[in-house]
Symmetry: D3
Subunit: 333 residues, 6 copies
Amino acid sequence: QQELVRSARCRHGAPCRWGSQFNVPPSAQFVARPVGVCSMMKLPMQASAEGLDAAFIGVPLDTGTSNRPGARFGPRQIRAESVMVRRYNASTRAAPFESLQVADIGDVNVNLYNLPDSCRLIRESYQKIVASGCVPLTLGGDHTITYPILQVVAEKHGPVGLVHVDAHTDTGDRALGEKIYHGTPFRRCVEEGLLDCSRVVQIGIRGSSYDPDPYKYCRDQGFRVVPAEECWRKSLVPLMGEVRTQMGDKPVYISFDIDGLDPAYAPGTGTPEIAGLTPVQALEIIRGCKGLNIVGCDLVEVAPMYDVSGNTALLGANLLFEMLCVLPGVKTR
Amino acid sequence: QQELVRSARCRHGAPCRWGSQFNVPPSAQFVARPVGVCSMMKLPMQASAEGLDAAFIGVPLDTGTSNRPGARFGPRQIRAESVMVRRYNASTRAAPFESLQVADIGDVNVNLYNLPDSCRLIRESYQKIVASGCVPLTLGGDHTITYPILQVVAEKHGPVGLVHVDAHTDTGDRALGEKIYHGTPFRRCVEEGLLDCSRVVQIGIRGSSYDPDPYKYCRDQGFRVVPAEECWRKSLVPLMGEVRTQMGDKPVYISFDIDGLDPAYAPGTGTPEIAGLTPVQALEIIRGCKGLNIVGCDLVEVAPMYDVSGNTALLGANLLFEMLCVLPGVKTR
Amino acid sequence: QQELVRSARCRHGAPCRWGSQFNVPPSAQFVARPVGVCSMMKLPMQASAEGLDAAFIGVPLDTGTSNRPGARFGPRQIRAESVMVRRYNASTRAAPFESLQVADIGDVNVNLYNLPDSCRLIRESYQKIVASGCVPLTLGGDHTITYPILQVVAEKHGPVGLVHVDAHTDTGDRALGEKIYHGTPFRRCVEEGLLDCSRVVQIGIRGSSYDPDPYKYCRDQGFRVVPAEECWRKSLVPLMGEVRTQMGDKPVYISFDIDGLDPAYAPGTGTPEIAGLTPVQALEIIRGCKGLNIVGCDLVEVAPMYDVSGNTALLGANLLFEMLCVLPGVKTR
Amino acid sequence: QQELVRSARCRHGAPCRWGSQFNVPPSAQFVARPVGVCSMMKLPMQASAEGLDAAFIGVPLDTGTSNRPGARFGPRQIRAESVMVRRYNASTRAAPFESLQVADIGDVNVNLYNLPDSCRLIRESYQKIVASGCVPLTLGGDHTITYPILQVVAEKHGPVGLVHVDAHTDTGDRALGEKIYHGTPFRRCVEEGLLDCSRVVQIGIRGSSYDPDPYKYCRDQGFRVVPAEECWRKSLVPLMGEVRTQMGDKPVYISFDIDGLDPAYAPGTGTPEIAGLTPVQALEIIRGCKGLNIVGCDLVEVAPMYDVSGNTALLGANLLFEMLCVLPGVKTR
Amino acid sequence: QQELVRSARCRHGAPCRWGSQFNVPPSAQFVARPVGVCSMMKLPMQASAEGLDAAFIGVPLDTGTSNRPGARFGPRQIRAESVMVRRYNASTRAAPFESLQVADIGDVNVNLYNLPDSCRLIRESYQKIVASGCVPLTLGGDHTITYPILQVVAEKHGPVGLVHVDAHTDTGDRALGEKIYHGTPFRRCVEEGLLDCSRVVQIGIRGSSYDPDPYKYCRDQGFRVVPAEECWRKSLVPLMGEVRTQMGDKPVYISFDIDGLDPAYAPGTGTPEIAGLTPVQALEIIRGCKGLNIVGCDLVEVAPMYDVSGNTALLGANLLFEMLCVLPGVKTR
Amino acid sequence: QQELVRSARCRHGAPCRWGSQFNVPPSAQFVARPVGVCSMMKLPMQASAEGLDAAFIGVPLDTGTSNRPGARFGPRQIRAESVMVRRYNASTRAAPFESLQVADIGDVNVNLYNLPDSCRLIRESYQKIVASGCVPLTLGGDHTITYPILQVVAEKHGPVGLVHVDAHTDTGDRALGEKIYHGTPFRRCVEEGLLDCSRVVQIGIRGSSYDPDPYKYCRDQGFRVVPAEECWRKSLVPLMGEVRTQMGDKPVYISFDIDGLDPAYAPGTGTPEIAGLTPVQALEIIRGCKGLNIVGCDLVEVAPMYDVSGNTALLGANLLFEMLCVLPGVKTR
């Protein structure tokens, strides 16, 4: 009963550390799952990244979507479903909330009607976050958002390595006359020198194409492209060994488009492609990043309206937690 | 059996007039409802408005949406559900397909990533349509699109009267820093002199507001604002008598936002407001426009993903048919 | 642009008063609707009712539900959809955020597995809220929760008058052997003397019954029962005039079960009954309470899973806002 | 506790009369609503109509559907949602389970692949039911099924009066070359002399048409056609007074197509038409039949897949209960 | 035709054995799939387990659910979707309906508002079933129900072996202060000596945890815990060989939580965890139990509202049929 | 911009070849995905197969469905979701639109109320298509339709080899007394000598059965039956090597029932069976047909209402594109 009262006290975003020096998500043993204004994992919310080692932040933008919109509600739904995620990683024994100070710092305010201006707003918000030394874990939003985020990340860390999980390379040049939308972020990053191109891997790529050789651009830049076909029915543990070698100890960014997974697992997304990766492989990829010098992560393209069950968002919430678990400094127990 | 063959021949968009001088939608007595690539009412499709008295045209844009997106799929779903609409208006005895040459001329190609450019594309498409003397019946799309359409319409007809059904006045000045989105089209129209402000009526307006006196701007321009409260439980036949007097015989445009209706009837829309109009009142409004010099119509803001039944789109299809039935020159039988 | 920055600063629950002495919900003109961790109307969250005139509070419990469960997610979804509600009441000119200090104080932690213990937890939470002089506006939750809330309210104010909108009288004695579930709260309240029985009105009652004379108990207590049949197709403005007389100037509580409305308007609820009230009548009832000495309000039984559109929750959010607008001390503009 | 055991004993379809001479639906006060293999109102099931005054029977056929199929699952879903219906009619004080012996006698086995053969199967089943003197209350199924049912009913009672609620007259001659589908039952009935044409009323008719004068056939037969337009915003109590006079004391059949109601109330149906009747009017129609010599009833065209909430089926269950309540011999309390 | 009549006669739950000494589910070749009041596989219903070798029984309880409720409707939906399951197991050649007398004996009446009392009601019902020598195949309901069932089973058979498929070990001690909910049944069973702990295997366990070593309790009791990670991409045939050895010929109970499967296959459940088992593995587990001395089975946690397709319930129905097929005494053909 | 205009010109079904001699689907780089009246891949529509090497054609029939109907809307939804499919096959490098003249020739008009007559209508339509030398790629519709299609195909090519992917063999003799429905097409084909029985392979077969040895009929005819069990967790590349040998260079027809796949990937179908094939295996099967003398293909049983996401239809659209890519004469780049 004592504990019930204690958890009740934690519900409003006030520091909630359960006797620890770090913020800790409340347990469903003490706070009922449906209870609470949904921050990510019901972590305390704070207005800036000040004092944080890592922060969850939402970017509810979908103006860059080419087919089904709705990713603007990705952050809201991922937070809602994150009530199922608990503090320890039972598989890897990672204990992020005994290692890092983590909070939910809310959403970037975006300009739904103007993509370049949204990029500016994202950039300005992330400059403050990254400046404070905090690692951003982003809840998207469509994939456009990774472009301004990487502008900020590279500003601090120099050109970064990239672990990019996706059905699409997102290296188009333009569409409908525009250079900024969710099909082009990584070409823009290449052009601006934000990526260390020899340390880029794209995993899960597939689908029909406008070009007979659609991966040429990527390979010409030095990216490693791992089509879904090379992943089918395989463990990706060996691949990730190679990726760790490729990445070395220089800064790495993880950009995870939920459509990298097969639509059976992630129906709630806007541009699904058949015959994709499995959640098991997603875990192998993210857990395989342990030891890398990760400086930022995102999980994008969750469009909840196409998945009435909420399970695509639940998957997103779990994958974000797994990313948290492989950040530098996270201890195991 | 003869007729089954005949209808089979009509399925591909080739002229399909059933012995009439006009295009005629096929009957479900001869062509099964699920059959056919869905143009509006399964009318023949043609590439331009050439030779048409009226044309259905889609504008699948939702980049101007402030809350739930999805109206980009409005035209597709309205066409799909229009298989339920038959050629005669049993209530008014209107026989549009014995009076006018009507076709579906497809969709305007929009720039999903750039609202001003979409406006340009809409404007260019409509200039050709309107130039040919054809009355456009537009399947939206979010309400942003009415602005470029009215630019074209006013270019030909001068400032027009407006019968505007909506939950919102859509006369905001800007949002998120932008002057073009679905909350501002009619202020832009006023500023550009596209509206004959003394001949503007806005029906069904309601909802909470950012301003204590939210209709002031409209009334200052000379608009007649008819809040939903004034419509509750009433026939709108008397109102429409007054509206016909207000409009006179000068050109009138009908802009019908599906969220003018109560969300019970039209759940598939992005910015619903409670306590709205009924479909009965919608019919009274549109039928009450008979006799006016209508030069264009639109039905906007159908976002099908929020209505699994398809019935919001069905409602939209019926209301578009009703608009066709009150166009000048439509005979009754 | 200045304002965009300002709103960005408001997103984390820090006091956000826009230059006012009171908390003010952010405008979608400055903060995009999908942005933000959803508190009610995106109001600031705070840990206690301290300093507040009125507070939104959630009680995410549905263990008392007899048919379809899901009301535990009512508070979450009502908050999510409340992004459509703006600061002024355009119809009544009420300006609650220029009159009262209002915040969202989160959820009561409930015991999903034990109804009497949940009642205890609710009671304990509300004692603090009510003690501070704050008027609670509750987001339910099934109707069971009104019983412990009224225990606390009557403890402070003595037996209260009750404006009860519902399809059911909720005055059953027991079900499945239990005295506490969502069909019995008002019988429990009568037994404990929490209601001023001559000042109780139940509006919208209908449906088949286990008893040939199902309203006898209520009328025997002195309640006024207004069956839905007496409301059909009528304005409830005259009724509310009588209700105001009945209530006088003594304390009144408003308990609004969303199933009082017809399931067409509120499909997302657990025990729907056909042929119910309309949202127009709901507004007439609530607005008709202006001038009463309202000491608390609740909106219960929103079970979002049965309404994929989210519109039942949107309706709930609007009705809660309307209740806020009729609280004592709310000025008009 | 005693009662819990008693209800447990009733769950399997064994006679369950609660001390009464008649079958009585169990109360949710004693049997939890989700409990039980769903017969209509959880009434006992029996293999024939033997000994019954009235019987619920399902006809799960939708092969006659012209647009959206799914009414084959109408009976299953109506039974499932009927757990909300209780034994007394609180509005009319009807007590059918103190007046008549009622049971659920299951479904007619239909031939999904052959409409004429399904008609034969229905005919054969109903001959036994009607021969035993039992009044059938049918759960459809698409409207095709009323044709073979009326063949049987008229065989016993001679040409019957008909209270027909629907959006469509269902008096087409043929479609896709076929004379039997859900658009033709009442023309077939006329041709076979099953209807007493001067005692036929069709209420709620509306929608676009293939003919400029679509009601001519009906009126030529002597039917009274009451278009939806004549019902809008009106009480149908006066109409039903006239209908009772029209029907006199000769046998009457009630055929209620759920699409007679507006799609807001009944989204789960295959050929919806906008601007229809309300549930309030549906109650007025059915309750207005009290005193007539009703020899059979059906409720058709519930297609549950188009209404995720289950509420169309709930509406159907309630309307079937209301029909039961107006059968000859039902007492009030 | 003869057969159509014969099946029609079988529809009401009367003994229906098709010339066999055993009950046999009707074939869709003779009875249309949508036909019939849905018992499990349309088997005859009977009021007690008298004379049965095995019985399907529902326990529609979800008061023990910690996240999304709805499993109270599991039995209803599993029965509805079981119309797809036919009498023979084409893969294993099992012919349960030529080997055992099987029926559907309806649902246990539960107390939705009181978990301990529901446990009592379940216990009392199962005592009668198990006493009669019948093997219960339970349609859940949330996992709480396995606790009282095992009390009864162990009362008769002594401590049982357990094949437990699940995402969670369900060996928590308490939550929200309660010892009985769906996270604790197997700890309660251990405490009461209902399990032969060296013969317990838990398969598919995964997900984040409140404890750094969440399987310690289980392993301390002697359970074999097989995390999902050990199952990924593997045949479970070898594992089941080991399990058969572990179980020996002493009594075994199978408890299958549908959330053991990946949410892609079973979205309709309340506490899903990513990266779970596949239906192929589920079949390998159940078929791998052939030869064991199975004394009871359950399939729990199907919450249909989260899977609009009905396919989670269909999966549940098939898995229950597969359990029936491995019961002692089932012959192959 | 030039290109935007060009694509705008292509939107109405007029020849649209982008400078190529062949029809080419427009690119989402130039035409926004939501734009256009949905033909398959937005290809030009034409009224006959004249001049085409291959044609997409819909057969919107589901009267042959034994469980959940809805496949009548398969063609409409497959076309709608095909906006995601692009012109090149990135995996196989197939370039069908540089090799063949392809168009969408609309739907066959079917008789929804009469299966034999629908077969006649299909036969008559396909006779014209096949006579012109065009390879039909059919969008179903339920599996009944393959019977009349194969009548026409065999009329031209003699008995054909068959690559049949399905959960069911569809070789039943009759159901509900009928010889024509979706469970019998291949028995009818055998009886009429339309199949070269030694060149028939059925892949993915599974599920419970009405017969203890359900594959006997098939094997007696000489079919190769590959149960799903033999496919689990395996690459089907080796199998397809054997199949190519089996098929030789004589004519082959591909009939792909979407329920061959596991319901996790294809929930939108009427008679799902658990533990089926994966999309990866579907691709291996179809790509493994490269080199065969394919004379026709179909993709049947997509029933969109059971998959709110649209992803089953998307899967169907992709598989149809893959079939196009393996037609004789398709070059790679």
